[in-house]
């Protein structure tokens, strides 16, 4: 019996998640009210993108070295989603954003994202295939390559969104040394701890996955964020009740 329950738990959880996203999406489609708390990293990112366009400075997005095959792929996909929003917002800039990654698939996808963003904004000639760069294939080689690019391009803002290790501190430090704002988040706990100390605007825990909502990616992003919040409450209650039952010897 316990085996069947644990076997069914995964699909049921996923089904509940999808249903919640659908319900929140359907009910929130026409809503214009702001329903999320302010997250300063994304508010600042939106501001620096606008300032970079006005001042004609470069923006740098770094997607990490985690690749897409594995759980770390989700953080890189969030980075790509943010890149799409940043590329659209900066499409009228003289100096379009540059992207670095430590994985071949991410480089290909970043080039694809830039191309489709410029196409959607009807500025196809802005697209430069070399704007999406592989900066290295091992964590430190990737960091060293991205640091060189930061020094050469002097970006006014660096969005480090993806899977990193503790070497992300070198990137954050390089960004700060070049006078740019560093907004950073990772799915890796060690990198989050490092970024909390090293970045101007660190994204901790699930904050990384909320970017689309703050950069106007649409109602589906808001719906998935609400579903995340609802299920986090449910899981927190289950964990606390389970711990109390265990403490009282009832389970």
């Amino acid at each position: 019996m316990a085996d069947i329950i644990s076997f069914l738990l995964g699909p049921i959880f996923l089904l509940v998640f999808v249903t919640l996203v659908g319900v929140f999406w359907f009910t929130g489609r026409k809503s214009t009210a702001r329903e999320v708390r302010d997250l300063s990293p994304f508010i600042r990112l939106r501001r620096v993108v606008g300032l970079a366009v006005e001042a004609g400075t470069r923006l740098h997005v770094s997607l990490g070295w985690g690749g897409l095959i594995g759980v770390q792929g989700a953080s890189a996909l969030v980075g790509l989603s943010l890149l799409d929003r940043i590329a659209r917002a900066a499409s009228i800039s003289d100096r379009p954003p540059v992207v670095t990654a430590g994985d071949g698939v991410l480089v290909t996808l970043s080039q694809n994202t830039l191309r489709s963003a410029y196409h959607a904004m009807d500025v196809d000639d802005q697209y430069d295939p070399q704007a999406g760069q592989l900066s290295g294939v091992s964590p430190f080689a990737y960091a060293a390559g991205a640091m060189t690019l930061m020094q050469a391009e002097q970006p006014s803002a660096n969005a480090l969104i993806g899977h990193f290790g503790s070497e992300v501190a070198l990137l954050a430090e390089a960004g700060e040394r070049n006078g740019g704002v560093v907004i950073a988040g990772s799915d890796n706990i060690a990198a989050q701890a490092v970024l909390y100390a090293a970045a101007h605007e660190p994204l901790i825990g699930e904050e990384l996955y909320a970017g689309g909502v703050y950069l106007g990616a649409g109602a589906a992003h808001t719906a998935s964020l609400k579903a995340q919040d609802a299920l986090r409450w449910v899981l927190s209650v289950v964990l606390i009740v389970g711990a109390l039952l265990k403490l009282m010897g009832m389970w």
């Binding site: 071949g104 070198l170 909390y196 927190s236």
Partner: protein, 208 residues
């Protein structure tokens, strides 16, 4: 939501991998899709390496700032080709004495020195954080770093164990740290699922 062939491929591939986790009999399908993905990723890596060379060659060609590093990179790209060629010439295998020599005496020391630099950078970042973020979470973070470093240092650790205070160390390094980590991981896991669902629904399309 606009229908596209690429979305259909992404949806089917995603569902095949997902179903493989819940229906063990379809595990072969999941394995097949992942194998194809790995194969495509290796081609993407090759394309990425050519892109890297192209970017740096362009930088050297146009004399952009930092082109000295680009010359070094192009040169570094040639070294493994020469060492692999030498190994293949002498031993019939692309991986041998010369390749390992380059790895051991060039790549490992360079990465080790970056790692050493990281220790200095982190110490500096922790000190700078106090001036930048002097609030309660910042102070808690700094005090935690200090306590964990102190309690896990060998001499203090032996001292605590001798006086039966090992529980104090475990309280910080295991109970409180594990609790915090679980909380963060819970958020990361939910965010990962939400991202996956958005990709499957075709809301996010990083493939264009």
């Amino acid at each position: 939501m606009k229908f596209s062939f690429s979305w259909l491929v992404a949806l089917l591939a995603g569902l095949a991998v997902l179903v493989g986790y819940f229906v063990p009999i379809l595990g072969w399908l999941q394995e097949l899709v992942v194998q194809v993905a790995v194969l495509l990723a290796s081609f993407a890596l090759l394309a990425g390496i050519f892109n890297l060379l192209g970017v740096h060659w362009n930088r050297v060609d146009t004399g952009k700032p930092g082109s000295g590093y680009s010359i070094l990179l192009v040169f570094s790209f040639i070294i493994p080709l020469i060492t692999a060629g030498l190994d293949f010439w002498f031993s019939g295998r692309p991986m041998g004495y010369w390749t390992l020599w380059a790895f051991r005496y060039i790549q490992v020391p360079v990465e080790a020195s970056l790692f050493a630099l990281l220790a200095v950078t982190l110490s500096y970042a922790a000190a700078r954080m106090l001036s930048r973020r002097l609030d309660i979470p910042g102070l808690v973070f700094f005090v935690t770093i200090f306590l964990v470093l102190l309690l896990t240092s060998p001499y203090i650790s032996v001292f605590l164990t001798q006086f039966g205070l090992g529980g104090v160390r475990n309280l910080f390094t295991q109970v409180l740290a594990a609790g915090g980590t679980r909380g963060l991981l819970l958020g990361v896991a939910l965010g990962t699922i939400a991202t996956g669902i958005r990709i499957l629904m075709g809301v996010d399309r990083p493939y264009g």
